[in-house]
């Protein structure tokens, strides 16, 4: 917020950046000043516009309005190569490395050294080792990338950017894929870079981490920058409130509705990938009618696989019982008909038919049940009427149920999915990030719907990256780490901080493995 | 979906473009010549308008259709007739052929000549609808249609002669026959060739291959597969191959050149039409004088006494034969003429089925 501090040292200065996409304004009036030689964090909810902003800064998208200055000079990027030319480097959340190339080959790919006729590999190797030493990156140029771990790959990406002369590094959600030790190593490397005078823009929504590493934090909400704060002067909760723009709605459930009637019993569930490695490793738990079981964990620790296995989308071993019926070998359709509802993590991929109208999306997943079908036919009249009901009850903002799902904003798409899945009185709901990308009002409404259904006896498996949501809604909590349920916690007493450390495997407080 | 759809469209369009290229060259020549047709009117006699419908490939196929075209050109030059020529497209139905013949008949072309036995069915219908028009069909016979003349050939007799030539010229005692498509007409060639070769050397080895199967007779226009098949035969010991495969013959000639062996052309004198570097390998050609048949038919029609019924153009009528351009068969001419004489005299009966 303090413009006076933005002295000539500014490495990057964005002013009045606005970017419109059809129907939405992804960024508007963004002002951001990143001081040279600092780690500057950019925080915001999913869908707040962080990624768009970074794409603009890296030349992947052109702003409709506003100016970009890099080290005092105004620039206009037409492509990432323009950004690279002025010393900006980017490490994407999903690495862009060729698996079957060596580190050396990956680093020089696209900026091959030497004459037009021969590669000067020795010179390249020397430079890689030099950069690696200088910034303490500990990168060996010779192994094939496929053999490297996630943290190593990330450092290769950083080195690759530095190799191309980056002075300003953008890291997009760099810790999302890392285990705690790796996060520490990354932070050590970032401090090293900072000490050498480089500037780091760090995108994250993990507030604790942000407070740990950043020298300044800019919060972005609904496409615009709302504040720049000093990490030493704010609490995580204050940051979170800045992010959502109001007092955090409390997801607290009032009283327990847990019964002793088991709805979902999972026994020794194991999912392996094509190479035989366990993605879900011998997991067992029970959810009772009226109970919300929350699963906490860093993304990518098996949550998606767990849900897919219970839905029957992914092959698994072990037993899955719905009340007393063993549904382990049943098809997805049978499980759905038996009363399992599913809010997928990736709504675009698994939850919607983007090119189909809303009412057909209401039918999706419930093709065989009323009101959507009768006999082998789709009951268009009733399906449409029920879609109208969902649109009204769940406040889906749309001019009609005949527009395609792609025309809706992400939050409205999510509300439609939640409404759909809560229809037909399910017995069990698998909810992965049910309020992701949804505005605060809708979030509260979805919570209300969940609580209401829970009171009616619905069993819920809740997966969420929002720890407040998890703690507030759940009757019991489990922590998932590398495919195993490693700890459990009582939502009545646990704090987000405790849960966070348990998620990273550092939790000494964990009450023993499940 | 969209991505692959586009891919698809490109494939579809590309295949069509190829088809267009394939047919394009021949058509440009046909247009040019038909344009000139109306201007010329030489010689005496009553001027008649001849309509001619080609088989797939049309004028410019350096083979069967071209042979018909040559007869037509000769009729124009010698008799001063006017003509109009239309060609067929790949994958067409009988109804399309019918429409083509009808178009000619309606346009006042009389006689109307169709090249190729595939016109049989459609010609029968159209001939019935235009009883005052004379029709002729090359390579087929249409029964129960008094105004249709069948112009057929004794291909087996011509093939017999080149079979004799092949056996006489072969040093390895191993010769080959490549047919464009496994259809009865082509088997007639095979039968004659085999009989001719065996008449010289009873234990001669004869390799027989066909390039394609009906209904997809692409082997008449697939030089690459001609080369491949010929390579195989030459490698297996053959030193003379009779290529009865229309446009694919060029491929056989190329193989012969690469392996320094000999080949025999078909339908027209392919020594004349082959590229200069291929001429030396074209030992002789089995001539099927479609040009003679077409010309004779037109001539009779103009004279007012059209040929009717089934006309068989055999060795006796010079409807089939062998070519001697290039001089490669000069040394065995005596034997060939002897064989020819025997057939004409009837002392040798050539089989027409293998």
């Amino acid at each position: 917020m303090t413009e006076s501090e933005s002295t000539p040292h500014a490495a990057v200065r964005l002013q009045g950046i606005t970017k419109r996409f059809p129907g939405v304004v992804a960024n508007h009036d963004i002002d951001l000043t990143v001081v040279s030689g600092t780690v500057h964090a950019l925080c915001g909810e999913n869908g707040a516009g962080k990624s768009t902003l970074m794409k603009i800064l890296y030349g992947m998208q052109k702003p409709d309005e506003g100016t970009i200055e890099v080290e005092g000079r105004q620039v206009a990027f037409h492509s990432p190569s323009d950004a690279i030319a002025v010393g900006i480097g980017m490490v994407h959340q999903h690495f862009k490395l060729a698996d079957n190339f060596t580190v050396l080959e990956n680093v020089i790919l696209g900026s091959e050294p030497g004459s037009a006729f021969g590669l000067d590999l020795d010179a390249a190797r020397r430079r890689i080792l030099e950069i690696s030493d200088r910034y303490g990156l500990d990168v060996d140029p010779d192994p094939v990338v496929a053999e490297l771990g996630v943290g190593d790959r990330q450092r290769v990406e950083i080195l690759k950017a530095l190799y191309r002369g980056a002075r300003i590094l953008i890291l997009d959600e760099p810790t999302a894929v890392l285990v705690p030790q790796e996060v520490d190593e990354l932070f050590a490397a970032l401090n090293e870079l900072k000490a050498e005078g480089l500037t780091v823009v760090f995108i994250s929504h993990k507030l604790d981490e942000v407070r740990k590493i950043a020298d300044a934090i800019t919060v972005i909400r609904r496409g615009t920058t709302v504040a720049t704060v000093d990490p030493r002067e704010v609490t995580t909760r204050q940051l979170a409130e800045l992010m959502v723009g109001s007092e955090l709605p409390s997801p607290q459930t009032t009283s327990s509705t847990v019964t002793d009637r088991p709805v979902l019993t999972v026994e020794n569930l194991t999912v392996t990938d094509a190479d035989g490695r366990a993605l879900i490793d011998d997991v067992s738990f029970t959810i009772h009618a009226g109970e919300v079981l929350g699963i906490a964990g860093v993304e990518g620790n098996g949550q998606a696989e767990l849900v897919d296995a219970i839905m029957g989308i992914r092959a698994s071993t072990g037993r899955v019982l719905l009340e007393s019926d063993d549904i382990s070998n049943e098809s997805t359709r049978h499980r759905r008909e038996a009363g399992v509802a599913f809010i997928p993590e990736d709504r675009i991929r698994q939850g919607l038919l983007l090119e189909a109208p809303l009412w057909e999306n209401r039918v999706l997943g419930h093709q065989t049940t009323e009101p959507n079908s009768k006999g082998g036919l789709i009951d268009r009249r009733h399906a449409r009427a029920d879609t109208q009901r969902i649109v009204a009850d769940y406040d889906v903002r749309t001019p009609s149920i005949d527009v395609t799902a792609s025309a809706l904003s992400g939050g409205n798409q999510q509300k439609l999915i939640v409404g759909r899945e809560m229809s037909g009185q399910p017995r069990l709901l698998l909810a992965a990030h049910p309020t992701r990308g949804v505005d605060v009002g809708a979030q509260a409404a979805i919570w209300d719907h969940l609580r209401h259904a829970r009171a009616q006896g619905l069993a819920v498996l809740l997966i969420s990256a929002d720890l407040d949501e998890l703690i507030g809604l759940s009757d019991s909590l489990r922590v998932i780490l590398r495919g195993r349920l490693v700890a459990q916690a009582d939502p009545a007493t646990v704090t987000p901080e405790d849960l966070g450390s348990a998620m990273t495997g550092a939790g000494a407080r964990a009450e023993g493995a499940a | 979906m969209r991505r692959v759809t586009s891919l698809f469209a490109v494939m579809a369009a590309a295949s069509m473009a190829l088809a267009a290229c394939g047919g394009g060259s021949s058509d440009s020549t046909s247009t040019a010549s038909s344009g000139g047709a109306s201007s010329a009117a030489a010689g005496g006699g009553e001027k008649i308008k001849v309509g001619l419908a080609y088989d797939i490939g049309g004028r410019g196929d350096k083979s069967f259709n071209d042979s018909a075209a040559a007869g037509l050109d000769k009729a124009k030059a010698d008799l001063g007739v006017e003509f109009k020529e239309l060609s067929a497209t790949q994958g067409e139905t009988d109804a399309d052929k019918e429409a083509r013949l009808k178009l000619l008949a309606q346009g006042g072309y009389n006689p109307v000549i169709a090249v190729g036995f595939l016109y049989g069915g459609s010609m029968k219908k159209v001939a019935a609808a235009f009883p005052n028009t004379q029709f002729a069909i090359v390579d087929s016979v249409v029964e129960g249609a008094p105004n249709v003349t069948g112009l057929t050939f004794a291909e087996h007799e011509g093939s017999y002669l080149v079979g004799v030539a092949a056996a006489l010229k072969s040093k390895s005692g191993n010769v080959g026959y490549i047919g464009g498509c496994l259809i009865p007409l082509l088997q007639k060639f095979e039968a004659g060739f085999v009989a001719g070769a065996k008449s010289v050397k009873a234990d001669i080895k004869i390799q027989v291959k066909y390039l394609s199967n009906p209904p997809d007779c692409k082997g008449f226009n697939d030089p690459a597969s001609g080369t491949e098949t010929a390579n195989g035969m030459y490698d297996a010991g053959a030193d003379v191959i009779f290529a009865a495969a229309g446009g694919s013959g060029t491929g056989v000639f190329q193989s012969a050149k690469a392996k320094t062996k000999l080949a025999i052309g078909v339908d027209s004198d392919q020594y004349e039409s082959a590229a200069a570097d291929l001429k030396p390998v074209v030992m002789t050609s089995m001539l099927k004088r479609v040009d003679v048949a077409v010309f004779e038919y037109i001539k009779a029609a103009q004279a007012g006494s059209p040929l009717t019924g089934v006309q068989v153009f055999d060795l006796k009528k010079d409807g089939v034969g062998y070519s001697a351009s290039g001089g490669q068969v000069d040394d065995i001419k005596a034997q060939l003429e002897d064989a020819k004489g025997k057939i004409v005299a009837g002392s040798v009966k050539v089989p027409d089925k293998p």
Binding site: T18, R20, G23, V24, V25, H28, D29, G223, I313, S331, T332, R333, R335, R336, R349, Q350, G365, H366, Q367, G376, L377, I378, T398, P399, D402, S406, A407 | M1, V4, F8, A12, A13, M16, A17, A20, G23, G24, D27, S28, T31, S34, G35, L86, S87, Q90, G91, E92, T93, D96, A99, L103, G107, F117, L118, G121, S140, P184, N213, P214, P215
Partner: protein, 372 residues
């Protein structure tokens, strides 16, 4: 689909119209370069195409094209590419002709038997590709292309006189069907319209109903739009692949029947080949929609029939092939352009109607919603 929306219908027509105009323009250029007057060429094509006997020929041709395009479209709707329609219909027609000629049954039963045989053979041939895809992971694009070759060879073998065929004037063909197996046509001043045209139309109605109204159709379309979403919704994709290949092949089996039952009454070496590939182009042009495909089939039939007149007038008739190729290419481009434009305009329309939060800082009012 249920409510008629003039905007949508309008937009659906824009793309093919654009493609047609581009194709006409491009072929005009080619004609001019070749020294011919385009208008004369197009006019004579039109005049020729509307003569009664040619109209009959167009309709008869279109009936086969229509079935072929429907067979392709069934696959398209679920992202499957049945390139093997060509082999499927030829093999089916061959088998149907052989069996049809071998039996004698009262009229309707005889025809029914022939139709059933054709459907089963087509379905089996396509089903092989479906099976290979599901259980062996073979791309149906590859396997159907390969099955075309195998089918051609198989039909060729069956078509040798030693097996099922007879020889008539140098043409090998199966024995003629007895008259009880002929599908009665409609006599018109321009000749006989195949009775099978009615069957084609009914298949079109069935296609529309199956895809638009049934659960099976919903599952099929959902799989085509997003396989992960379909899987999550409970669709057994493997089963759907096999089912839709069988269905596509069954319809493909019908492709040769208008000609077989209505005109040739036998399968011979002059039986038209290539209708399966024509179907791909027509399905693209008709946007997999039963009505769109019907128009596209007639257009294709018109172009195929009326090109003959060009030959007579000394204009290279290959111009028609150029037109057809251009239409297919242009229509794909045009559909994509229109699709993007539609998505954008819909998003803008939704945003504009809702106003407020979705477009907080848009400088001007969202006037774009009124476009089109």
């Amino acid at each position: 689909m249920s409510r008629f929306d003039p905007r949508r219908a309008g937009m659906a027509l824009v793309a093919p119209a654009m493609a047609f105009v581009v194709a006409v323009a491009l072929s005009s250029v080619v004609l001019v370069v070749a020294g011919h007057a385009p208008m004369t060429a197009f006019r004579s094509m039109f005049d020729f195409g509307v003569q009664p006997d040619n109209v009959v020929n167009i309709v008869n041709k279109a009936s086969g094209y229509y079935l072929s395009a429907l067979a392709v479209a069934i696959g398209f709707r679920m992202n499957l590419f049945n390139i093997g329609v060509d082999g499927q219909y030829r093999l089916a027609a061959m088998c149907a002709a052989v069996i049809g000629a071998a039996v004698a049954l009262p009229g309707p039963l005889h025809i029914l038997l022939i139709v059933v045989v054709a459907v089963i053979v087509g379905a089996i041939w396509a089903g092989i590709a479906g099976y290979l895809k599901v259980y062996r992971g073979v791309s149906e694009v590859i396997s159907t292309i390969m099955l075309n070759y195998i089918g051609t060879a198989l039909a060729a073998w069956m078509l040798t006189p030693a097996v099922f065929a007879t020889l008539e004037n140098n043409i090998v063909k199966t024995p003629d069907l007895p008259e009880s197996g002929w599908f009665p046509g409609f006599a018109t001043s321009g000749g006989e319209v195949y009775g099978f045209v009615v069957v084609s139309a009914l298949v079109g109605v069935g296609y529309w109903f199956l895809l638009g109204r049934t659960r099976f159709g919903f599952d099929l379309r959902a799989t085509g739009m997003s396989e992960p979403a379909a899987v999550a919704s409970g669709v057994d994709v493997k089963k759907m692949v096999v089912a839709s290949m069988l269905l596509s092949g069954g319809v493909a089996g019908l492709v040769g029947l208008p000609i077989l039952l209505g005109a040739s009454h036998s399968y011979g070496q002059d039986f038209p080949a290539g209708i399966g590939f024509t179907g791909i182009a027509i399905a693209l042009l008709g946007r997999n929609h039963p009505i769109g495909i019907a128009f596209a089939s007639v257009l294709w039939g018109f172009l195929d029939v009326s090109n003959q007149i060009l030959d007579l007038e000394g204009i290279p008739k290959e111009i028609v092939t150029i037109m057809q190729g251009t239409i297919v290419l242009a229509v794909v481009v045009a559909y994509e352009v229109v699709r993007r434009w539609r998505v954008n305009s819909e998003q803008r329309r939704v945003a504009a109607q809702l106003g407020g939060p979705q477009a907080p800082a848009a400088p001007g009012p969202a006037t774009t919603a009124g476009v089109a």
